[in-house]
Symmetry: C2
Subunit: 327 residues, 2 copies
């Protein structure tokens, strides 16, 4: 059995807890939280809840630690620190800072002889893998990533920071005409505005100026100004009833040409339609936790990403069985 620890117990941590139950070769040993352990109720009988700072006392009880903190401030500190003690997996998703995060984690993990996976999930993660496979197979081509339809946590937070907003949820929606153009093989150049729209569902405080709120959301730089954004005012009851979930998904499409005169078009498309973004991310993470333990046993230490794992290492089945049933 692979003994797993969960470090950070929010949506992602609970998703990891569920995913471990779906994998017979894994058991959850402990959950680490910054909250008072007495106030944290986990869903798995017999699991210890520990203070975050007590992790270092558990190095002989945990084969791999899954770090479920946020990318902005938690993971840049937590992952290098924990990689000194454990094999680890995180879901660091600030794309621009991946090289820096990789170097920090690699240094820590090489020094400790541990194996550390960063940026595991679906983007970065499965979408990255599909960008890689697509680009190597069809070098004369172009790749496109579309997100949604799904809830963006960051954009929902941005809405809720607007003065007069009581609550809100934002959906990122891929533009059907853009998807169709890409699938046609015409390799279009697409602007930000042409690829996605943003749909906002907003609960205004009593007496708030809705026209001003709408204007403020639509003109918000980085988040909304570059997109066609719609703002729908609804009641808190309606938001709770119809927008409580955290669905997401998207598309990675590689369009490329082959042939003596590049006369043949090919379209590779990978898509996800997810009822729960954190649970799917967690499901990917536990596979890489398995791989981390195996790679560590084989002496493959340091920082790794989804690009570095032989796919067979993600499975509990033997290579011979995989060849027989899946190849």
């Amino acid at each position: 059995m692979i003994r797993v620890g969960i470090y950070g117990y929010g949506n992602l941590g609970r998703g990891v807890e569920n995913a471990i139950k779906q994998n017979d070769d894994m058991e959850l040993v402990a959950v680490f939280s910054r909250r008072d352990p007495a106030t944290v109720k986990v869903n798995t009988p017999g699991v210890t809840v520990c203070k975050a700072e007590d992790a270092e006392k558990m190095t002989d009880k945990i084969d791999v630690m899954i770090i479920c903190g946020g990318s902005a401030t938690d993971l840049p500190v937590q992952t290098p620190a924990l990689a000194k003690l454990f094999n680890v997996v995180d879901s660091f998703d600030t794309h621009a800072k991946i090289p820096e995060h990789f170097d920090n984690v690699d240094e820590a993990a090489k020094a400790s002889g541990k194996t550390a996976f960063i940026s595991v999930g679906w983007d970065p993660g499965m979408f990255s893998l599909n960008r890689l496979y697509g680009s190597v197979i069809l070098p004369d081509g172009k790749d496109y990533t579309f997100w949604g339809k799904g809830v963006s946590q960051g954009h929902s937070d941005a809405i809720r920071r607007v003065d007069g907003v009581a609550d809100g949820k934002q959906y990122t929606v891929p533009v059907q005409a853009a998807l169709d153009a890409v699938r046609s093989g015409s390799n279009p150049e697409l602007t930000t505005r042409e690829k996605h729209t943003r749909e906002c569902y907003v609960v205004a405080e009593d007496g708030a100026d809705k026209a001003r709120i709408e204007q403020e959301i639509k003109s918000m730089p980085n988040y909304f100004a570059d997109y066609d954004t719609t703002v729908n005012f609804i009641s808190q009851e309606e938001l709770n009833a119809n927008h409580a979930g955290i669905p997401h998904g998207g598309f990675v499409i590689r369009s490329g040409k082959t042939g003596a005169n590049l006369e043949h078009n090919h379209i590779i498309e990978y898509s996800l339609k997810l009822d729960s973004n954190p649970e799917f991310t967690a499901s990917v993470i536990v596979c890489y936790a398995r791989a981390a333990v195996r790679m560590n046993k084989e002496g493959m230490t340091g920082c790794k990403t989804v690009f570095d794992v032989p796919p067979a290492y993600l499975s509990a089945k033997s290579s011979a069985e995989l060849r027989k049933i899946l190849l």
Copy 2:
């Protein structure tokens, strides 16, 4: 530069030749054919055409040999024999015989210290990879493979063997209703007949009994009897004009559940839409040829499949660059 040999120069071999031109780190050195080399005209200036039996004289000139024979009788003999001399890649696609082929090639490659990839392409190949990734991420789920719309060479050959048939082409077509049912997350049980239909375009010989031909095709065991098959009689001119290509494609869909009570559905879908089946297969193969050379340099010898390769090894780019631009 990676020096490549092509062993067998049919549709797939010519596809490999084209694909090598799309990869700057590779050069085609020699083509090996069972035909008289004087009669074989290749499309790349400066490439030697050799007799198949002269391959053993070229071991110091070729880093990897791509074997483009057929799965029925060529590859079971050729791949183990050539793995004694070279790093090799083949596209062996008789799924049921993969374990046996693997063992034969593994023995040869381990003895020679070479790296040998078998069953590379899209099915087996990229489809297999997606079956693997899907099944590890969503263990409580089901996977579905659909093929088409595309030309099946084996079924087209079967049509042409029917008495009174001058020429013919067969398309395998996925049933839209079955695809929709799978995408809904309902995890349906689907019979062979429910998943695919077979469309035949047949040129009858002058005076042949078309009703008898149609009946004979539709009742052919293994090939057509288990499917809803349509037979369209057309002229040779129409067949040449509208059915000369070798398109193919298909879908691998994993449908699975997560959550404390398995209350969330997820759909992972991978699809290919290919203008040229052999050229796409060739494009996949050259990536694994690159990986074979690199893995061999690192001492990873014996028989390998797509399940055994860290994805980064398929690219000519460095791991740091891949993390920066694709992760």
